[in-house]
Point group: D2
Chain length 451, copies 4
């Protein structure tokens, strides 16, 4: 019969990832993420109350993967498991809203990922009945189904948060490999390099279908290691020569390895390190819970507005004593950095203060515009800006070629992006001998492929 794969979401945009695999009477879901731009646009417009919208509303603004297709296909009741690859919102963010639709499904993820899910549920005050199961990296879980039992290998990989995994699903109909959001980083700062051994073993055993991240498939290089970002961070701090200046760093809240580098070199400045912002707090809490927060004792975290404001009052008076790590690298309205720049806090930035962006601007007009405005305001105050102190967590062409050469899959389905991105992946695959339409397939949201 073969595997049937429904590419539910994330095949026409970057976000709301979801892929369903059907074997006989059983269906396994991979990821259930949200589409962040839709939510941001919604919040900008109806900013009256910032509480999270309902499932219905989220569906209407197309922020959720359209999993109603599974109802139509008659797959919904067959879902036995929802496997989450890692803790980013475009992979996990829809679980609180959709998991209830799959009462027969357990939710699987690594400990860090599952801790983050619990945090989300708590924040949103949502209760889920689905059993939650923590599967360690490089270990295995057997999913029991009606048509058989399926071994799911959680294979450690590297990306830009903790405990990210590839998942290889062994089925009687063939082996399915899910490889979203990774780069091959041999020096990831926290944790080990990807488990290349297991990848080669998977390739030796035989991969029938590979669903793979195509975001940067058109970029002909290897994405640099997180070690590079660490070096850039060190150099960025070394460039801060005025010891009386305020020093602010903003980066991705989920990026614990990056935060470790910031803290490590931050400590050398002799400043007290303070983390400001809700999402920073959330991810760091999860890292602490799984005992992978190496800087736990070196930082203080604040998440409430009042608390942050009164702290920034202190900073205003003795700016050289603190290193501030905060949210707002995309100049998001209401983020801590945005509030500082807009002078909505007691800290008034001025000549020679430093703002380090350990991030790059997401290349959409809305982000470009927001950062452009923020940068102009900072420059007008005389603040010294350091931008792009960052490397991406998504693999580029060379990483993708390496993955394919190790796994030697029979079929490739590009995911994680628009049709244009997927097309780049097809071209890359064709360099390696794959044939579009035969062994390399373009899909779209809601399509079913039988392979």
């Amino acid at each position: 019969m073969g595997l049937e794969i429904c590419t539910v979401g994330g095949y026409e945009e970057v976000g709301k990832n979801m892929t369903a695999v059907k074997i006989g009477e059983d269906v396994i879901l991979f990821d259930a993420g949200i589409y962040l731009p839709a939510i941001i646009e919604f919040q900008e417009k109806d900013a009256v109350e910032s509480k999270t919208p309902s499932e219905e509303k989220l569906r209407k603004i197309e922020a959720l993967p359209n999993d109603k297709i599974l109802d139509k296909l008659g797959w919904r009741d067959k879902v036995r498991a929802i496997i989450i690859g890692h803790s980013h919102l475009d992979h996990i963010g829809a679980v609180p809203y959709l998991a209830h639709r799959y009462p027969n499904a357990k939710i699987l993820g690594t400990p860090f990922t599952m801790e983050f899910l619990e945090q989300m549920l708590q924040d949103e005050k949502i209760t889920l009945r689905n059993p939650r199961i923590k599967v360690n990296e490089d270990s295995t879980y057997i999913i029991k189904g009606k048509s058989g039992n399926y071994k799911a290998d959680f294979i450690h990989t590297t990306h830009s948060t903790l405990q990210c995994v590839f998942v290889m699903l062994h089925t009687p109909e063939g082996n399915f490999f899910y490889a979203l959001d990774f780069k091959f980083d041999n020096h990831p700062i926290i944790g080990a390099p990807p488990n290349y051994k297991k990848l080669r073993e998977a390739g030796a055993e035989g991969v029938d279908v590979l669903v793979v991240d195509s975001l940067y498939s058109g970029v002909e290089r290897k994405t640099p290691s997180e070690r590079i970002a660490r070096n850039l961070i060190e150099d960025a701090f070394d460039s801060v020569r005025n010891e009386d200046a305020a020093l602010i760093v903003s980066t991705f809240s989920s990026h614990i390895a990056r935060l470790k580098s910031i803290v490590d070199f931050g400590k050398k400045t002799g400043r007290k390190i303070v983390f400001l912002g809700r999402s920073l707090n959330k991810y760091v809490e999860c890292a602490i819970k799984i005992k992978q927060c190496p800087f736990q004792k070196d930082v203080k975290i604040m998440k409430y507005k009042n608390q942050i404001n009164s702290f920034l009052k202190k900073v205003e008076k003795s700016r050289s004593e603190y290193l501030i790590v905060c949210t707002g690298h995309q100049a998001e309205a209401g983020s801590v950095l945005d509030r500082i720049v807009e002078e909505e806090t007691p800290l008034k930035l001025r000549k020679d203060d430093h703002v380090i962006f350990s991030s790059s601007v997401i290349p959409a007009p809305t982000n470009i515009n927001a950062r452009d405005k923020m940068d102009k305001k900072l420059r007008r105050k005389g603040v010294r800006i350091q931008s792009d102190v960052h490397v991406s967590g998504h693999g580029s062409g060379d990483d993708l070629k390496d993955l394919i050469e190790m796994l030697k899959p029979k079929h490739i389905i590009p995911a994680h992006g628009s049709l244009q991105k997927a097309t780049s992946m097809v071209e890359l695959a064709s360099d390696l001998g794959y044939k579009f339409g035969e062994t390399c397939h373009l899909s779209f949201n809601g399509k079913v492929l039988k392979l």
Copy 2:
């Protein structure tokens, strides 16, 4: 009276750098470089004989700084010294053709730079009567003139070859600071970071005029350290998984630190390392002479075509035994890499062979086109290409701001590029309080500024 500065060359293009400083009856020249694109174009067209053209021919194709202006100004006979900042051809390449015009001038440079000059003279069979003087980094030389004696501080900096210096010239009329071709690299792999202490001292003493590299003044970041390139090299080699494949690296011949990284990680592959090409041989010879070639015993160097061809015959048979480091990263016609790709040597590249470009494509149509063609040919053979395994040696906006903040010069003259590049430097300087037309000056080839 003040300093008089003639911006002889390199103020309207990237190349043929030359700046003259006049104090009373004495003139000091800084750099005497060639304009490489003109020479390449000339050689492409009149490729019959590849011997170097005469001074007259070089003048005609505008490959030399137009120092005839110094005759017109009556400055020529007053030239007491020609100070060369480092060994790149756009700074030193015109010395063999022009120094004879300044019989009263000594030629000054660091030992590596001066060794390279001797190599050039030998190669071109040119004899110069000017005394040659080796000045160590972070030391001082007194130039004797008619209107006084002038102390020249050679201050160590970092760039992309050995023994690069800033030069501070102390004169009764004011202090002149020459700062072309540098980045502030705190981890330069070979040698120490820039001598920040001396820079601050210079600033404290007072700099009247700063002539400064404006090439990347429009890029708002700090140029990454050579350490980053070293890490990228390590990762590039780690990506070579097929041990039976040929492995070729091409990089800048003068970049001894880069070559060291290539050799260090190359040794871990267990392959024998062989350098192929005339210019590689030339720069490595100089490094050996000044005892700064850490990989001297680890590599074999070949420069003659026949020798290279018969070696590549061996490689063809046992490609996994060798790591080839060769010229040709810009796909220059006749370079070793070009000859390999064009199948003019016994080595026939094929599927899974690797070519690593530890360089970036110089963004001119002719280089883009040449590399595009080379890359297509490599890809057609199935060769795996790794590009841009590289960081630049020229500082960007943040490095430049740092320099200016340390030196606090009264006047800034942007150099090393077109008017457009210099304009970016003016904008950068105006962020730091300089005023265009008053304390920050745009110049052009042949102009005299009295400050």
Copy 3:
């Protein structure tokens, strides 16, 4: 003694143009414009009340040329005339706020320009005591001063609104030529081509200083004629095949020739043509007053929100009966088009409706972002968008070369843009034999040049 020129505003940005020319005891000002981006940013932030800010406020947000420099120079009381080249806000918009500072100055402009000034004064409820004088195109006005009388030639040129002029000022110290905002259009739809004859005569008589538009000096082409835009408009209307659809066009309100083309071809659709928006109303009123509104009887104009809303209610019911011409081509918040797209009016756009943008997106992040959002919303509704049905009103490299070749000025000062734009102009001029720093000069806001 020579001319003294103070480049007051518009030499570091596109906007707030102002140039002062001093001859002995007399000063003539050219243009007094505002910097629109500053005003927009201000209004976005303090949107509570949309009334125009005060002079003080406008100065603080740097929306006005900083003419306080004239006080410092002691030039203020010597100002005898303010000459306005044309009716765009970056040339005339500051007159209501600044003219009172120059009680000895008459305000001069073509009839259309002066009508627009009256409209502005009325709208802002500002009274000015300065005499206002209408000078026809291709005629002359004698400005009386203390050190002499100065003939001002108003020479007809073409741009993107009515009655635009170059101004040649004849003085005992030399002839000054002011040439901002023009293209050489031989088929301008309304009015005649530029008066080339007078330009050649000016060249023959001798131009000492030319201040010239450098906005597109870096673009190597001739800007296409308005006739091209007319043809594009015709083709755009021909592409509207669904006769039941709504049809909306947005363009620059001041562009009477463009509006004429829209009306001419709009009439062929058989639809009633209605203009919606305050600024459309304002400019059309001025055109009517000077009897240069050829479509006066063919259109109906509405400017009040209520009126517009109740009209759009009718359109919603019988959308095929109307052709709407409205403001909002840059997706400005609160413009008529923006309100329609945001569904704040009774007209709900839907599949097959057409929106034609007879404009191009101003290439700043804020405009790009606004239009990107508007376009996405339109596309989601199924609306057919036609963009860039437009040609610019600013000359490019070829126009500028033509002007220079006709005028043969002794000195050139690039204006109307950042230093980068001016630098392109310098490079263009150097192709024609001008020498930077000698006959071609870079200036900045507030600088004084003596030539």
Copy 4:
């Protein structure tokens, strides 16, 4: 059974177009073009003899569509007709080399297209046995096959040469519509606008499969009419103010309408108009033969090198007497313009001479580089360059939407470009309600689709 379509060539590159349609025992081929870049690269390298390579050689360098697939499919002997849409080499250039493989096939095309074929055959000294049939625009030809007779409608469209057609093939299995290389030009200078009436009739009758030009499907606009180019030509000539200067225009040799505009406005300059170059001669000859060369009596044509050289000797002496129209707009080595610029002819260009490029640079590195070099040389001589006096002949997004809305095809197959271009077409079609993978199909060279 349905139509079977083999997308033989032009589905992975711009060039070597060929599509095969099978109905029962009969196959109809559409186009047989060459891939020009491969031929140019070959000629550059093996420039010893410039004679055209053999079929075998052309296959090896992948310059021909790989029609060997038709042998494998068993379709080769079933080919009843080869229908050529228009006379460009990427559509007709392979006919001389491949038609002999299809002995049962007639060759069909419009008179101009067929004349050009005869010219090619004569030039290459190739004899073909296939019957050649001239079908007028907007007329019909019945192709007789074993499984039935098939009506082929030749529907007039507009592009950038004479007598271009869409072809609608009526078959018992469904209607196939071939729509490569067109724009919807309502003012084409020569001939009528596209036959919209027939297009709507075709839509009413029912189109099952549309193969369509996707080259500019990603450009959101309507491609401007040839009328626009005509206006630009007029303005370009009007900009030539120096009557003593040489005046050279280069454009696409096949573009008879463009040539007409050049001649029409060229005549007004009072200069004698001379066409120089082999390919210009070839296309003009064809136009004369079909009596559609309106400027036949106004120009003199020269094609031989000696003849051209001795004519240019005359021009050198009396440059103001002639308007030269010649080949070389892409700076092709050996073209007339290239030889003039390289000073290989007696005409030495100098200050104030004009070169008008009625073309745009094809955006590949090799063309960009060649034109960049040519432009620099021209500029060094002081020649005035006018570039991009041109509009494209390929429709953009709006034209494509119009075509689809008129034809309402059941299935769309994007052609004429890489997978990336085709993907843009899929996105455009999905805006119109088509579903990728169901009604809109991505193909590749050699694939068979059954619809």
